[in-house]
Symmetry: C2
């Protein structure tokens, strides 16, 4: 008699963004005449850059001709893409990453969800609170998080590192010792970042206690200030303790195209076992590569034109972020983020929980955001808005909220 993975049954509710989608769909069905503005999910709205479109058409043509058709991709991804990454994302910032330390994937969500595969079940994880739900949910699925305590909205065996107004939304080194530490900077959902000396503290701490850092740098393209690290490998010693994940979703609008990568330095070891070789085995066994045409699209992001065009896209969204941040501040909201990240994090009005504020915004001004409590217990009383809408919608949403 087969048995299911009972850990799945411990997961509360559904995946956060599925719940939001259901609520919005129900509202829309009941109010078909209302114009909903979605600043909830971190999905982009600008079309792909012309350089990317050209690369896609070119690669599609190749796939239509016998001489240039490509079947299975190399396990780690095409070298042309891994070389471009090593050059532009790392060497250009003074970091040397070998191309066989880079694994091309279908996105950072898959990678951050799947990375747990190569670790034992009895590792203890530490996460920022609030946090991108995928880190915690996938560890819950693996049986690493203990039991869910509904009254406290937290798992019994997770080390939560609160990031609140009180500590400037920066996690502090935890009192209890974790084995695996998830860090995401610029942060989703708070939009905050850490400076290089602050990140160096984490690297030193991980090396000291023998922990591994899963570093999600999906939003690095949005960094506008100096002294904010774009890669954890800018810190000394990070290669012996950190795995870094990147995405093409937010810098180049690939949310519907699907491309990302994970870096696992060969210096990262457990005894004499390289984590790089474990991930290579997983990658080669449970995955069959990102599409050739999509890898060519990724390569185009690094071309001169692609860089210029995608930087314009980022600037466009960051202008939206400014509109939201300044508009909400003017309306009396307490706001953070939106300077080095496409996320704006605000405090809900006095006496309103995150979900109450979600319902309130949806029903009164037809604006969809994301309840902070959906990201963890310390997110309660906060709310996330994203800069990925159109300019017109962003402006209108803020005008509507201002009038409340």
């Amino acid at each position: 008699m087969f048995k299911i993975n009972e850990n799945y049954l411990k997961l509360p509710g559904s995946y956060l963004f599925s719940t939001i989608a259901k609520k919005v769909n129900a509202y829309t069905a009941a109010n078909p005449d209302k114009k909903i503005i979605r600043l909830g999910i971190g999905d982009v709205t600008l079309p792909l850059a012309p350089a990317v479109i050209d690369a896609l058409h070119g690669a599609v043509d190749e796939m239509g001709k016998k001489e240039t058709f490509r079947g299975y991709a190399p396990d780690l991804g095409y070298e042309f893409l891994r070389s471009a990454i090593a050059e532009h994302d790392y060497r250009a910032r003074g970091v040397e990453i070998a191309i066989d330390e880079i694994f091309i994937s279908d996105g950072a969500k898959s990678d951050s969800g799947n990375i747990g595969d190569i670790f034992a079940t009895d590792n203890r994880i530490a996460v920022c609170d609030p946090v991108y739900p995928v880190y915690v949910d996938t560890n819950a699925m693996a049986g690493r998080t203990g039991d869910y305590i509904a009254a406290e909205e937290r798992w019994s065996n997770v080390i939560y590192m609160p990031c609140t107004e009180e500590n400037g939304f920066a996690p502090q080194l935890p009192d209890e010792e974790p084995d695996i530490i998830y860090l995401c900077f610029p942060n989703n959902p708070t939009g905050s970042t850490v400076t290089k000396p602050e990140l160096q503290k984490w690297v030193d701490y991980a090396n000291r206690i023998g922990a591994v850092i899963i570093y999600d740098a999906a939003y690095e393209a949005y960094i506008s200030e100096e002294n904010i690290p774009h890669s954890i490998y800018e810190c000394d010693g990070a290669k012996t303790c950190a795995i870094e994940m990147r995405s093409f979703s937010k810098n180049a609008g690939f949310t519907g195209v699907r491309l990302g990568f994970t870096v696992i330095p060969k210096a990262l070891r457990a005894g004499d076992v390289q984590l790089n070789s474990l991930w290579a085995r997983r990658h080669g066994t449970k995955f069959n590569g990102a599409p050739y045409i999509v890898q060519r699209a990724g390569e185009a992001v690094y071309s001169e034109e692609g860089q210029r065009q995608t930087k314009e896209m980022v600037a466009f969204y960051m202008n939206n972020a400014k509109v939201i941040r300044e508009g909400l501040a003017a309306a009396g909201y307490s706001v953070s983020g939106g300077v080095n990240a496409p996320y704006i994090w605000l405090k809900t009005p006095e006496g309103m929980t995150s979900w109450q504020f979600f319902d309130y915004l949806l029903e009164t001004v037809n604006v969809v955001g994301t309840p902070g409590s959906g990201f963890g217990p310390s997110g309660e009383g906060y709310f996330r808005l994203t800069a990925f809408g159109t300019y017109e919608n962003t402006l209108e949403a803020i005008e509507r909220i201002k009038k409340l």
Copy 2:
């Protein structure tokens, strides 16, 4: 101190096809003047069908315009594709599958590797022997297979169901009771199939003992004979015991495009838990959809033109299969498969192991195949050739082998 998943260390050698690639690369480096013909890995060589190319170009254009750009796909995949699947792959064969029982993915390899996530670690698996390595390797990674016994080339806690010349390459119901049964028909690697009454026996058996069948139907497009089921759901009662996986790789040449799907009927339950909802949760949490452009390409496979063009591709490869099958038989080899599948399974010459024959063919006639023993202990003494080469190369490879 973090701990790795020690199960990975139990895995013998590297992934089969990585090992083959390394051997071939080494030979090529040492003998750059030799013309290698690859009939090893199941990778296609024909370019994508014109209908698919048109759909890809069209979808790329949509992604380049603000009005038609698409971001994140729906969790389960776009409805246009799931509807086409429900209609063409199931309703047309008298099987009713709801569109929310279909999960679009980046391929059957990922799905067959990831499906273990929703099952407990202490399920006992049964596999055909020989078998597609992904089923066993991914269960080994999850700790379900016991220890690897190198001398016997088998895992201590896997139920092997030998498929050899003696039983016509058809697995028999096992003596020990499995919880999860992997079946793949038309079979990779043997190229054999089962009739509908034979498959019905498996469905009845699984329902009787409470086992779940993971049914890999990636090669169904190659079925040429009557009374061979294209889907396990053609059997009565399969919806309460079977998960089916399909791929666009082999019927439409999508090995480098990446698209597949998994069907989990809502009637498939463990107590009151639907496996469909567990997989939906996994899919929504650890995966972010196949690319929009690729899903449009998949839709085009079901168009009238797409059907005609992809059927021509299958016919082309099946002609190769005939060339191999008849050529080898004429040369005195004992051959099976190649009638309802793109794989030809032959016995190695007297006194030669599978890997010896691999080296022999590579070194004497520069033809690459796949050693049967790479697929499991009962594959020893067999060898797999695939029909996915070009016609010219296939013909030449067989001529070379004939002259041995």
